[in-house]
Structures are given as structure tokens and as C-alpha cells.
């Protein structure tokens, strides 16, 4: 047996001894060494992932409280609680216990409102976080897989939201379930069976709330937790991306260390998010289930909508016409064993847009890499204007989403802007197709224009507001050149060029490569190149101000190579 080379470490304080006990068993030192001074870049747009995480923590905390009082039974009962306008009304136990949480458990209403408001903020924060990642190009190699995990998290958060929305068994959510039932029944061949299995028989049955409850409090949150763990693990492996700027390169990360600054800011931010949600929940009603009444298949309320994140699918259902030119989209197909019905008027809008959006979302990192033939590691982010093609695609996607989103509130748009409900639908049907195209063109033009403005500023400096009279009587405004740090922010970017079709290994140009080249030309033929040092020197060479003006127009014109 070999003897330890040094005497074992003896801690001097009691805390030290406890720490040493743990450390020597789980190697806490290694964790501290690895993470204690890990650097995180600082930018406001990097915080949305944290907002989502914190909302999720708040959801777990308040959700646990709510489970102590909620009873997911659909058994029939008569309300005897303290809310007078519902006393004596027949309802399910689930709805009754939701009312009791609101009216007979102190702080229960507050907990419900915190829970629901943070759910809305949770999905909003996930969405905005994904938009940030998309528009800055943070999904590129090596982070493609984490982008996919993020997409899965978005879907899971929708699932968590929807299953929770239905639990109180009120009129609003009951009609939401009824819509889900209708959509499921439109699935060919197996739809009716899935509906009967899900609801334990005919809609509404007495099983669905209990089943959704289990999904909402166990399965979905567990999956979300798992995905969050994978997501954060990958962030640690990859280190965070950063915007381009002086001192920042693809091979370093510049920012504040976890201990103490970043940890303090991130930790403090949890309390800020909680505080903001608390103040909203204190002052603003959300989901007033006592207004809607218990679920009953006969009544319905005007303005029956899902929570915002399901709205776009509901909007697609509203936009789809049942008949096109008198031709029904509900097809009765004769088979040898009898007629079967294919409800394209439900199936297409329910699955089509969502399928398209999520397919493109998941595939985009690979689509972009294929188009640009750029397989390099990217740790530096793009400003959205410096990637006009990507920004345009993103804006087209947002427009597509927002048209459907608006359609989900077509009735409220009609009443609040005093226009006809039918006209709103007609216009949104047009925008469904035209909107994304317009969004693409306009966003690309704006991005290119902003890039030209940046060139202008680099070449000729910023307006100083100082008017000077020249000896020959001309007035000019003095432009001040940028300092080298500000300038670097404006010139450090890459502008992809269109890559023509390349020969493959057999010396041929494949059809796929031709299509890629075509798309590449469509995306990249309009480009604004970053200013080069010689261009800047040239611009400074001609210092006569009027010439500078004229030259600006030439130079900033879009390069056409």
C-alpha cells in the first residue's frame, strides 16, 4: 500500500469541514473550478431563456399549491360555496374545486392568477427566446441540436398550457375540448376511435379531466424538466454565443464571470420576474371561470377563444372555407364497404399550417447550411440586418403566424373596429397568402437599407450638428468620424454571396445542386458588403464635403456582384 504523498487536507472552520466532507465525496471543487468563473456575455436579448426558465419554476411552485386543493373528478355535484351567482348550480367536482380555490381558499385566487399569468408569459418568453436565437443566427453549428431541443420545449410548453387550460371544466375550456374532439374526429380512419379512447367513450364523458390532469401535472412537466436539463447542459458545453464587437472573436467569449456578477444578476432576475408576475396577478383578472359557468354542451359564450398560444391554430380553422365556389371540402368517398367522409375543411387547417411552421423551424439550421454551404462553427451572432435573407424568412414566418393569430380574434376585431366580421375573414384569407410574401420583401429591403446606412456612417462619420461656413460661403455640417471601436461594430460582419452550382464528385451538377444554386441566387444576389479599410481610406481622401455627398450615393449602392 502506498502512502499518500501529502498529509490530508484539514479544514479549520466548521463550515470548512462540512464543505470538505461533501467535496471529497462528490468533487464539488471540480464543479466550482469548472463553472465558478465561467464567462457569460451580457445582452438584454439573451435574457428571454431565463425568463422562460423562471416562469417554469414559478409554475411548479404555484402548481404544486393548486394540486393540494384541486379535485379532477367529473362527478356531478351542486355548488354550495360562497360565490352567490352560482349557488345551487349543477356542476362537476373539478369545476367546484376550482371555484373553491378562487373563493374559499385564502390566496387561492392569487395562486391561480399567478399560475395562469406565468403560463402565458412562459410560452411568450419561449417564443421570443426562439425568435432571438433565429434572428441572430445562434442556431448554427455547433448549436443545431440545441435548437431542436428548444423546438421540442416549445411544443411541450403548448401541451402543458393546453392541458392546464382544460382542467377547471368551465364552459370556455369545455367548448375548447369540444373543438379538439371535432378536430380529432376529422382524422381519417382512426379519428373516431382516438376520440372514444381519449374521452373514455362519447364526448364529454367523465374521464377526460382526470386524464388531462395526469398529463398536466406529471408527464408533460417531467418531459419539460428533462428537456431543460439537456438544453442547459448543451449551453454549458457550447458556451454562450456573443454579438460581434471589438475584442470579441469566434474563439473567445467576453462577458462577466458567473461568480459574482452573472450569478447575482441572473439570480436577482428570478425575483424580478416573480415580482412582475405577482403585480400583474394582483391587479388583473385572468380566466374568470366564475363568469363562464360550468361546462354544459348547450350554452356557449361569444368570444370563445383558446389561450393565445393555441390561437393561431384556431385562427386557421376559422380562415378555412368549408366550400370553395360551391364545391364542398368535406368529401364523401365511396368505398366498396360503404361511404367514408374526409373532412379536409377541418383536417387541412388543423394540421397544415402547424406542420409547415414546425417542419421549417426544425429543419432551418440544415436548410441554411445547405444554401450557404457554410459548415463552419459560429460563435458570433449576426445583427438581424446583416443577414437580410434570414431576417426576411423570419419576418415572413411571423407574418404567417400573426395572420392566423389575428384570425382567432376576428370577432373581436370586428366589434372593436366596427367592421364586418365577414370582411375581416375575407381580408385575412388574402393576407394568409400575400402577407408572408410582403413581409419577406419589406423585411429584406429594410435590412438592406439599414446596412447601407451603416456603410454611410462608417465612410462619412456621424452628423455632429455643427454647421460650419467655408471661406467661399458654403455651409456644411461637419461629420465626425467614428472611433475604431464603434467602427468595428459596423464593419465586422459577413455578407454571403450567391454560390453558383458546383460540380459533384462525379463531375456533374445534380438537380438538387441546381435548385440550391437558384435559391442561393434568390437569397443572396442583393447584398451589401462590409466597408473595407481601403474604401474607408478612399472616402477620407476626398475630403471636400460636397464630393463626399456625391460619393456616398455611389458607394452605398448595392453591390451587384
Amino acid at each position: 500500500m502506498s502512502v499518500p504523498s501529502a498529509t490530508p487536507y484539514e479544514a479549520k472552520t466548521r463550515l470548512g469541514r462540512v464543505t470538505n466532507f461533501v467535496d471529497s465525496r462528490v468533487n464539488g471543487s471540480g464543479i466550482v473550478k469548472g463553472l465558478g468563473r465561467k464567462v457569460f456575455p451580457d445582452h438584454w436579448s439573451f435574457m428571454f431563456g431565463e425568463v422562460a426558465l423562471y416562469c417554469f419554476v414559478i409554475l411548479l411552485l404555484t402548481g404544486t399549491f393548486l394540486t393540494f386543493f384541486f379535485d379532477p373528478s367529473m362527478a356531478e355535484t351542486h355548488y354550495e360555496g360562497s360565490y352567490v351567482p352560482l349557488r345551487g348550480v349543477e356542476m362537476s367536482v373539478a369545476y367546484e374545486s376550482s371555484l373553491n380555490i378562487s373563493f374559499d381558499v385564502r390566496g387561492g385566487l392569487f395562486m391561480r392568477q399567478v399560475h395562469h399569468w406565468s403560463a402565458l408569459l412562459f410560452v411568450a418568453a419561449v417564443s421570443v427566446h426562439m425568435l432571438r436565437v433565429f434572428f441572430t443566427g445562434a442556431f448554427r453549428k455547433p448549436r443545431e441540436l440545441n435548437w431542436v431541443v428548444g423546438g421540442v420545449l416549445l411544443i411541450l410548453s403548448l401541451a402543458a398550457g393546453f392541458t392546464g387550460y382544460s382542467l377547471p371544466d368551465d364552459l370556455l375550456s369545455g367548448n375548447g375540448l369540444r373543438i379538439i374532439d371535432g378536430v380529432i374526429k376529422s382524422v381519417p380512419v382512426v379519428g373516431t376511435y382516438i376520440s372514444f379512447f381519449l374521452f373514455g367513450g362519447e364526448f364529454p364523458g367523465t374521464a377526460i379531466i382526470g386524464r388531462l390532469y395526469m398529463l398536466h401535472i406529471l408527464l408533460v412537466p417531467a418531459l419539460i424538466l428533462l428537456m431543460i436539463a439537456i438544453h442547459l447542459f448543451m449551453v454549458v458545453i457550447h458556451k454562450h454565443t456573443q454579438f460581434r464587437g471589438p475584442g470579441r472573436t469566434n474563439n473567445n467569449v467576453v462577458g462577466y464571470p458567473v461568480g459574482p456578477v452573472y450569478a447575482a444578476k441572473a439570480g436577482g432576475f428570478f425575483f424580478i420576474v416573480f415580482g412582475v408576475i405577482a403585480i400583474i396577478a394582483g391587479f388583473f383578472t385572468i380566466n374568470p371561470i366564475w363568469n363562464y359557468g360550468p361546462y354544459d354542451p348547450s350554452p356557449v359564450s361569444a368570444g370563445t377563444q383558446p389561450d393565445w398560444y393555441i390561437g393561431w391554430v384556431d385562427g386557421a380553422l376559422r380562415l378555412m372555407p368549408g366550400f370553395i365556389g360551391g364545391f364542398p371540402l368535406e368529401w364523401v368517398i365511396p368505398f366498396p364497404w360503404g361511404d367514408n367522409t374526409l373532412s379536409l375543411n377541418v383536417l387541412l387547417p388543423a394540421l397544415g399550417p402547424a406542420g409547415l411552421v414546425f417542419t421549417l423551424l426544425f429543419a432551418w439550421p440544415w436548410i441554411e447550411a445547405w444554401l450557404t454551404k457554410d459548415k463552419r462553427v459560429h460563435n458570433l451572432l449576426d445583427r438581424p440586418r446583416n443577414a437580410p435573407y434570414r431576417t426576411a424568412v423570419g419576418v415572413a414566418g411571423i407574418t404567417f403566424y400573426c395572420v392566423m393569430w389575428a384570425a382567432a380574434s376576428s370577432d373581436l376585431i370586428a366589434t372593436h373596429f366596427h367592421v364586418s366580421l365577414n370582411d375581416v375573414t375575407y381580408w385575412l384569407r388574402v393576407l394568409f397568402f400575400v402577407g408572408p410574401i410582403l413581409g419577406f420583401i419589406i423585411a429584406r429591403r429594410i435590412a438592406l437599407a439599414l446596412q447601407r446606412k451603416d456603410r454611410e456612417i462608417v465612410l462619412h462619420g456621424v452628423e455632429s450638428g455643427r454647421i460650419v461656413r467655408l471661406p467661399h460661403g458654403e455651409y456644411i455640417e461637419v461629420h465626425e468620424p467614428l472611433d475604431e471601436y464603434k467602427r468595428y461594430r459596423l464593419v465586422d460582419f459577413e455578407a454571403y454571396k450567391a454560390i453558383p452550382a458546383q460540380l459533384d464528385a462525379n463531375g456533374k451538377v445534380s438537380g438538387k445542386e441546381k435548385r440550391r444554386a437558384k435559391l442561393s441566387r434568390f437569397f443572396f444576389e442583393d447584398r451589401v458588403a462590409p466597408v473595407t479599410p481601403s474604401e474607408l481610406a478612399n472616402a477620407h481622401h476626398h475630403e471636400s464635403p460636397s464630393e463626399v455627398e456625391a460619393k456616398a450615393n455611389d458607394q452605398a449602392s448595392i453591390e451587384q456582384r
Binding site: 373563493f103 372514444f196 379512447f197 460563435n379 473595407t532
Partner: protein
């Protein structure tokens, strides 16, 4: 996009460095010089920041007290809505101050008093080449040692077993619900069932239904069902309206489905099942509030707008000896959203 006559592909275009590379670029000037904060140079500013942070933490303490006041001072046994609202506001304010005091305090502390030098950390290759070589060899050795490549019998039987083993996990979900059968084709209505008001359950005389009225109707006996009340209601609800008889245009075979301009249609939308209950008595349109499908009562509830794919089913009605409205049969087609087996 416009006037680009181009097409000369003189791009450097090499695969690895698309759009970058050979052009001259500005040199990275490195991190800008650090600018000290007020609190770094001025001891008074530092002291002030310290006091601010401490006051924010005190705000948090006050917030917690406000929460307790809100929680314990209002009892729910006899509270009015206004008192409940007050309690909710106090709990919200208390929590908000308690949380924001801590959060804003810590962040302010970090921003003003903790070091604000930006640190540069080098990134490392995510997968060093030597690791890859070692790992590849290791995996190769492991697979070799199992012998799975050399023993196809073992491999194939294992694959077969693995494919089959999960199937029971799917099969056990069979008992989630019964098979549909033809339950969706039938409702509670049958010849002679009285039309009664929802929710009171009282029968309706034809004379009660004046022109322009709309009655929300359920079948008699629904309220006394021992079970499946909501399931039956979800199929059986009906809207009863009276129009001027000349406004109705019954198709052949439906002439005797109405009583003096009184017609009854299923209230369940043929789109995805919301109750279609918005009856406009002048235009005779029925609107679904969920997805805006619009049905024209004068054309036997044909779809005139929106996503629904077929007309609302009509319930044939008549009057019994006592003058009450009754159904003369069940609906002639399945009500509600269409489904694969509907035909």
C-alpha cells in the same frame, strides 16, 4: 429583384469560406478601455449605492409584511367580492414588493458595487480530434468484443424480440374507452318525444313560439337520465325558431318537418361541434361563435359562410293532442362534426 443583369459568377465561392476570406478586413481593435463607474472613483457614490441596495432589501421586508396583512386580515367566510379583490391586490402587492425588493436590490448591488471588468475566456474545440480517434477505436473494440457482427442469429432474434416487446405497451391502452359502434348516429330523440325548454325542462306549446322567437330545446326526459346526461345532451340540443311559413323553402320530403313556420335544427355545429346558437331573427342566419360558420335557416340551414362542411341536421317536429311540440323521429343523419365513418 429588379435590374440586376449580373450572372457572372466570379465569386471566390470556395466551399469552406463562402462569402468571406480573401477580402481585406478591418483588424479587431480589442476590448475598449475600461471606463470606471461613479462608485469606483467616488466613495460617496459607493456609500450611496450601498444604502440604496439596503433600502431595497427593506422594501422587500415591508412587502412580506403587506402580504401577511392581506392574508390574515381578510377572512373568506363572509367576504364580499370587493374584499376578496382587496385581498388579492394586497397579496399581489406584497409578493411583488417582496420579490422586486430582493431582485432589484441584488442586481443593483451587482451593477454598482461588484467588479465590472469584462473577462475574456477562450473557447475550446468541442471535440478534440484525439478524443475522436480514441472513442472511435473504443467503440469498434466494444462491438468486436460483443461479437454481434459475427453472430447474425443472435442479432436477428434480438432485433425481432425488441420490435415485439413494446407492442403490449400499446395494446394495454385498448381499454381507455369503448368502440364507437353506431352511438354517434343516434340521439335521444324519437317519435313522440316532447321538446322541452333548456334548462327548465318544461314542454313547449306551438302557440308559445311566436314569430321571431328562438327557444333552446332539449328532449323531454334528459334531465332525469341516471347517467350519460351530458353525452346525450351534447348530441340532442336543438334550436327552435319560428319564421313566417313563406320564408321556409322545404325540399321534397321535408314539407311536414315544420309546424306553421316552426323549425327545429341541431345546435351542434357540423364543423367541430360548438353550439351554433346565434340566431338573427331578421336575416334568419345562424352563426357559430367559435369559427363563424353561418347557416341560413331559410335554406334548410345550408352553410353560407365559414368553415363548416355541411348543413345543420333538421329535427322533424309535429304537434301532439295537447298542443305540445313533439319530434316525429330522430335526426335523419348524424349530428355534429363529421367523422370518417359518417358517410
Amino acid at each position: 429583384m429588379g435590374d440586376h443583369s449580373h450572372g457572372s459568377p466570379n465569386t471566390s465561392g470556395t466551399v469552406a469560406t463562402a462569402g468571406q476570406g480573401d477580402e481585406e478586413k478591418f483588424q479587431n481593435p480589442g476590448l475598449p478601455p475600461h471606463r470606471p463607474r461613479l462608485a469606483d472613483t467616488n466613495p460617496r457614490a459607493e456609500k450611496r449605492a450601498e444604502r440604496q441596495v439596503a433600502s431595497l432589501f427593506i422594501v422587500s421586508i415591508i412587502g412580506t409584511i403587506v402580504f401577511f396583512i392581506g392574508y390574515f386580515s381578510i377572512h373568506l367566510d363572509d367576504a364580499s367580492i370587493a374584499e376578496l379583490r382587496l385581498q388579492n391586490i394586497l397579496l399581489g402587492l406584497g409578493t411583488a414588493f417582496a420579490m422586486l425588493g430582493i431582485g432589484v436590490g441584488i442586481v443593483h448591488w451587482a451593477k454598482t458595487l461588484m467588479p465590472d471588468h469584462e473577462i475574456t475566456e477562450e473557447r475550446h474545440e468541442i471535440r478534440p480530434e484525439e478524443d475522436r480517434v480514441i472513442a472511435e477505436k473504443m467503440v469498434g473494440d466494444i462491438i468486436e468484443e460483443t461479437g454481434i457482427k459475427r453472430r447474425p442469429l443472435i442479432r436477428n432474434t434480438l432485433l425481432g424480440a425488441m420490435v415485439l416487446a413494446p407492442l403490449p405497451a400499446i395494446a394495454v391502452f385498448r381499454d381507455l374507452g369503448p368502440l364507437p359502434g353506431d352511438t354517434l348516429r343516434h340521439t335521444m330523440w324519437e317519435a313522440g318525444t316532447r321538446l322541452v325548454r333548456d334548462p327548465s325542462g318544461t314542454a313547449i306549446k306551438a302557440a308559445d313560439v311566436t314569430v321571431g322567437s328562438a327557444f333552446h330545446v332539449i328532449p323531454n326526459g334528459l334531465k332525469d337520465l341516471p347517467e350519460h346526461k351530458l353525452e346525450e345532451k351534447a348530441k340532442a340540443v336543438v334550436l327552435l325558431m319560428r319564421l313566417n311559413p313563406e320564408d321556409l323553402n322545404p325540399s321534397p320530403g321535408r314539407e311536414d318537418w315544420a309546424v306553421d313556420g316552426i323549425v327545429a335544427y341541431s345546435k351542434i355545429c357540423t364543423h367541430v361541434g360548438c353550439p351554433v346558437a346565434l340566431y338573427e331573427q331578421q336575416t334568419h342566419h345562424l352563426l357559430c361563435p367559435c369559427h363563424q360558420s353561418t347557416f341560413d335557416v331559410t335554406q334548410e340551414c345550408k352553410v353560407i359562410f365559414g368553415p363548416a362542411g355541411h348543413a345543420l341536421p333538421q329535427l322533424p317536429i309535429a304537434v301532439d293532442d295537447e298542443g305540445y311540440l313533439i319530434a316525429t323521429s330522430d335526426f335523419k343523419e348524424p349530428v355534429g362534426p363529421s367523422y370518417w365513418e359518417r358517410g
